[in-house]
Subunit: 492 residues, 4 copies
Amino acid sequence: MADQKLLSTQQISEHKTPEDCWIVVDNQVWDVTDFLDEHPGGSTIILKYAGNDATKAYSEVHAPSVLRTNLDPDKFKGVLDESTIDADWAKPPPGENPRVVLENEKPPLHTLINSHDFEVVASKTANKKTWAFYSSAATDLITRDANKSCFDRIWFRPRVLRNVRSVDTRTKILGGDYKLPLFVSPAAMAKLIHPEGECAIARACESKGIMQGISNNSSYTMDELRTAAPSASFFFQLYVNRDREKSAALLRQCSANPNIKAIFVTVDAAWPGKREADERVKADESLSVPMSPSKAQNDKKGGGLGRVMAGFIDPGLTWEDLVWVRQHTHKPVCLKGVMSADDARLAMQAGLDGILLSNHGGRNLDTSPPSIITLLEIQRRCPEVFGAMEVYVDSGIRRGSDILKAVCLGATAVGMGRSMLFATNYGQEGIEHLVDIMQDELETAMRNTGVTTLDEASPDLVHTADIDHLVPDSRSHPYARAIAKSRGLSKL
Amino acid sequence: MADQKLLSTQQISEHKTPEDCWIVVDNQVWDVTDFLDEHPGGSTIILKYAGNDATKAYSEVHAPSVLRTNLDPDKFKGVLDESTIDADWAKPPPGENPRVVLENEKPPLHTLINSHDFEVVASKTANKKTWAFYSSAATDLITRDANKSCFDRIWFRPRVLRNVRSVDTRTKILGGDYKLPLFVSPAAMAKLIHPEGECAIARACESKGIMQGISNNSSYTMDELRTAAPSASFFFQLYVNRDREKSAALLRQCSANPNIKAIFVTVDAAWPGKREADERVKADESLSVPMSPSKAQNDKKGGGLGRVMAGFIDPGLTWEDLVWVRQHTHKPVCLKGVMSADDARLAMQAGLDGILLSNHGGRNLDTSPPSIITLLEIQRRCPEVFGAMEVYVDSGIRRGSDILKAVCLGATAVGMGRSMLFATNYGQEGIEHLVDIMQDELETAMRNTGVTTLDEASPDLVHTADIDHLVPDSRSHPYARAIAKSRGLSKL
Amino acid sequence: MADQKLLSTQQISEHKTPEDCWIVVDNQVWDVTDFLDEHPGGSTIILKYAGNDATKAYSEVHAPSVLRTNLDPDKFKGVLDESTIDADWAKPPPGENPRVVLENEKPPLHTLINSHDFEVVASKTANKKTWAFYSSAATDLITRDANKSCFDRIWFRPRVLRNVRSVDTRTKILGGDYKLPLFVSPAAMAKLIHPEGECAIARACESKGIMQGISNNSSYTMDELRTAAPSASFFFQLYVNRDREKSAALLRQCSANPNIKAIFVTVDAAWPGKREADERVKADESLSVPMSPSKAQNDKKGGGLGRVMAGFIDPGLTWEDLVWVRQHTHKPVCLKGVMSADDARLAMQAGLDGILLSNHGGRNLDTSPPSIITLLEIQRRCPEVFGAMEVYVDSGIRRGSDILKAVCLGATAVGMGRSMLFATNYGQEGIEHLVDIMQDELETAMRNTGVTTLDEASPDLVHTADIDHLVPDSRSHPYARAIAKSRGLSKL
Amino acid sequence: MADQKLLSTQQISEHKTPEDCWIVVDNQVWDVTDFLDEHPGGSTIILKYAGNDATKAYSEVHAPSVLRTNLDPDKFKGVLDESTIDADWAKPPPGENPRVVLENEKPPLHTLINSHDFEVVASKTANKKTWAFYSSAATDLITRDANKSCFDRIWFRPRVLRNVRSVDTRTKILGGDYKLPLFVSPAAMAKLIHPEGECAIARACESKGIMQGISNNSSYTMDELRTAAPSASFFFQLYVNRDREKSAALLRQCSANPNIKAIFVTVDAAWPGKREADERVKADESLSVPMSPSKAQNDKKGGGLGRVMAGFIDPGLTWEDLVWVRQHTHKPVCLKGVMSADDARLAMQAGLDGILLSNHGGRNLDTSPPSIITLLEIQRRCPEVFGAMEVYVDSGIRRGSDILKAVCLGATAVGMGRSMLFATNYGQEGIEHLVDIMQDELETAMRNTGVTTLDEASPDLVHTADIDHLVPDSRSHPYARAIAKSRGLSKL
């Protein structure tokens, strides 16, 4: 290393390719061409500094002596002539690009790392009408936003020093075995975002071992879905038709389809909500779905798909009709859309098999209560419901920790609707990736709260004091009695 | 279909008119000119892809075989030459424009779908002074904003599985029949935003079957309004003049006008509030109104129309004056502007026919309580008021769900002021459209909470816990006694 | 009016001066030159449309027939030739400019209509250092902002139908008569924003009949202020010097100055707070003030005027020193800066004449309690204080309604500091204008809550439930006892 | 001074250097060249106005006569010719530049005046990956942000008139003496931001007399740190390895290193959290640390350093393992990462020497409770813990007032992690400067609350009512019993 000849920055800059790569460290110039493939950290990081000064990056991870120890002396080329340093040389190499590029086109699937990413990508890449229909909610979006924020206001009470090496997220739903306490909530017209629509979802659920709810307004029929995913488990979400015979026919199909494990009768959509973003975008009037008589149309109220597609639903549905439902199927019957402890109790008394607490993702009645609040209301006012039937929750689930919170508070399983539609943007793979993410987040939350099976998930693991005041007590209103009495007078 | 000749994108692009329309689906080129009128989804959606590739839109709604089945074989023109695809071809067709274009000019009325839209349009198209006068409120706008947010913080407790096929929003106000528990709150000078001003409102109320409150500062006299809408129902909002004889004359006119169903004596405007946005814009000093002696003027405090137009109002009005009012009219007399349970009780004891809980839209005293809070205070402290007289609410109503909440909590009907002025921007039609929107929203909220008549609207349908702490208890302040006592000492 | 000749827009546009003014109404062209001076609404509004179309403005305020009725027929010049309408013509006349133009230069004083306006103007026109010194507060500004927001969270409980024709804001402070329950809080170095500094304030207070607190760091001496405003009433805010003799000299000056009505010993500044905005701007090191030995300087902590000017203050001041103060003056002695009920009680027991609840405008200890919270704490824990001495409040007062709230809750009077400094930007006139604004706002608030004298201002007029949880109870902390006990163990 | 000759602005402007400096005051032109060095306020302020009009700046601080009195008559050069004033002349001199310039390069250390400044500088100057790794936290960042905001919501109850001339922040930790109740929390890989990494921290802690926690993932070994700072005091943060022998070796090193005063076994990282910002930036795969077997890598979840570096940690660690730890060291053993009163009680029963309440800076489990909430929970539910062992707090400390609050509420000392890493950006000097800032802020808070030693810091000095509802009571959930019972039924 006698050769201490001065090398100008220009001279050094010429050796900047994988075939001829010099770098500078502590003002000493080294030829690292042959070393590129041996570098334990890979060649990329070195090439970033090819023909340039790597001192800063090098010293972050290496002791000063490493280069000298690992390279032949003849790889030493000389000493940087500092008088030749100019602005160009001093400029740092281009930084890493962020891995999620969210403009115009879908970024690679593996760069999406949570459910929010799927929503952001859909907002930028889905058809304008599709985005409006999927993302919209009733009027001022208060319930839609509270669905999420109420989960965020529940705190964990994590326990430490418990053996959480292996964690088990398996759960039983209506007697069936599933890999997660998570199902795909029924949501209409998945084909709008991907040609395979619900078929893609079905295949993903099959491969991941979770249940899929089929919307009455699915882009594909329940038989097509069974064909797509022969060993999948479904429940069918029924909108009862004003023409009962049409619904009876669907119930018969359900009975004949062994993959359908239960019927969920929708009760939170007596009347379609006013989803203003949906109304403001014109609908493609050729749009229809196979299992319902609805067709898209534009009218004086706007182009709301949610509204016109719900036109056939009977707003006259009552508890008595559930008897009629039972007459047309031998499968378990659950209610989708319970929003009060009072109705949960009635459902229990009516002998139903389960209830899905849901406000339709905030899409039907704004300022209807967040589902997690209804779960707390049931615990406060009629906890016996949990012993008599299964209770599910959807609306607002975005994180694995949300799943754990709901299960801690008494839910058997939770559903995700919108997020699954957004993941369908990537077809079957997208859903699978999202399910993997949710499983990973759930397992992380379980381990870091100190539990390894869902049986251990108890109310002791969470603290709900920040939202308890939003939970109705047994009496609706502190002055209910006084008001009722006075109103009575007023009517006399 | 033997002809599989290759067609370049340029060739296809030439057939892009309704008279000569080709589209590409799955690389096959079809002439759909004759099919345009037969398309069940309308021709617009097809023309969007005229001379272009429609595969994506097509496959969202059709099975692959549909084109082939529905078109004659000779409509098949060839196969897309994929080698000719360039950036222009790959570009998606122009998306739908959003239907509400809110710059500079009024968008078509039917594109406005809620009360907020009317406000946005007014903010952009009304005269600067008009906007300032209508939209402004007292000082820091705290009450104005709380009027709305307190409604948003009341949650529904929706019930399901109730027959809500038909819903009835009719209500009785002071013995009269109305189609909605909604009236137009009296608001001054509607002519500023539309030449027909209150006359337009009157005609709309007449056609929609709701009541209109006539402001003492109306741009048209009560007789002109009666002429405009001969079968309309009004109440007259009286500002009692320092010169009692002037007010007596107005009361006599009311008595003689059969369309006037009641007198509302304003009590929440003892002194004009400081509406700073209004003050900051110079007033047109030639402005005056027919039923009051006021005239616009600019002075050292600014150009506040609200302030100078209120100059004639007597700040010396007391409960004793109500006896005097009764002497000049045989019609029902109500108070407009009650802001406390204490005064509600006094009104009941004074034998009034009704009270309108109002803080003047937050325009007079900032941090005066939101009206819905006063409604709750009455329920907490003197619910007997509801049995003795009718209670109305205005200030902050923007949604049909707000109407339902107020009725659930004891209101006979509610008023909307500012929103109606903003709708007057479109004349009679604008008001009618807004009333239709409110009715639709109210009916949707009723159905989705499970009630079909307003009689069923009870406190059990709402949960007010998030705002209950804002409701004064029977004692004003936890330390009132201690303070009063100490102050007493201090004065000795 | 036989002459119906067509006039082009260009022809009409030429008549657009006060000497030759045509306008168009409903397509008819009128010469209104002679009418300009007779117009009841003034000429300005007409001239706005000189040589142009005034139809819209005209019809907002006039019946169609007014022009024809009031003008000579020969003033009718012809009919607008609509074919000549172009974009220029259709353009509306320039709107009114907003009256407050807040860039670079001070807008006319009368366009400032509230205390916030003075702050905005100061932020744009004051010297950078002056703004930093006046507006800054301790560290994260939490207390500074809470001072204001706690007032905003107190609601009124307004009463109606009370005779509020005349309202009286006069109050007694330490036996003296003042026109308002408002004084100027002592604040340092008013000369930074106006050459007349505290002299301007003194003259304004004299003319408006309110009291001024003189800061120990005033730009002018108490004698100079007396000279400037011979009949003004002052109190002197004392920072006790480490060198007691210096303070004794000041106390002797106070005793000799008949305009000084009381001594306020500062106790909320044991140590200067960390006002980061102030530190970040370099100080002019030639700056000093006459009644204190301090001088501005820049050091390694920054350029904080607040910090270096406080260098002489004795952090060793205790209750015993108050005896020493009493020995040097026969005037009333009050404490400035009490922040707890405990110290209020001690002050009462020490026989002081009054206490000013203050956290130094949030400038000394961040997260120290808002003064209005301390007022509530006194009421909760030792209301007897109000009977024994006067209680004042500053920090956060920005509105007349804030004054009323403080008085309702037991304050004798309130002080404003920063706002007064910002008003000094306009000299004496600025202060007078701000005092007028505050008086007007206070009277409006009194009238609209239904009171006419401050004696009637009682806790019954306000509702503090939204902030009551911030008020410490008699016990500091629910677990104080447990903690103290355990800590005791820990120390054994 | 007979010479009253007129001087134009252009003439004056030519004399604008230190060697030839004229200024204008009150239209009189003076040569102040010789006076520059004598000016008590320094020459800078004068030179700012060299060749220009200094009237405004002058009159802010000087009486009119000062110039005339201090300068020789021959320094008077003439009178400003006002007719020559143009826009250039009227322009004010350039203002002071703000002293913190935060773009691209590190501003001078002394211009950083609080912990937030260090964070801002790091965000702009650190390597992208370094910033992501240091600043990121688990999923939605709720815990990370609440860590800070909960401190902000604790109010002081300051006492006045106490002698706070001298203040003493010294404290005892595990029997050792330290100058502050503040230590450097163990945080991984400080070398990423500065080549000297933890060595720089060690030297700073040694010079400032505070304790340093050494991370198991430190860039330097504990022996290297001892060499760097021979008289420093450390504790060692142990991540227990799945391969116990590796951890045993580290424990033996600790025992042999006299500067290691205690072992902190980490229990809040059973599983690595999902730090999304960290995952999104690619890691340099050549990165490793000496005392752990981890290496950086990029995988399908992303490039999260936090995750992959934690791969060796044993999620099976339990209370039993603590016995094993005790067998390998005679030094005090504490737990790092207790998040509940239940585990605090267990730690006490297990005979540990201390517990560090920590949620890993919000990095592992989002919505885990802020540490200060856990401190309050211990006080509420098991205050005997404070008598039995030392309790420390980290996560969210940013201000000296935060330190005081924690100590008032029972903490022996607090740790800062991220802020110290950000300060390492400036090497040893940076850490020293930050410690000085924290000490100054702590002393200011102590003085302004009226205490002089940490022994006096008691719960009586703080008011926690704004966050008390977030503190879990002895029962986890109001309906825990009902839920548990019902779930039991559900499992039958």
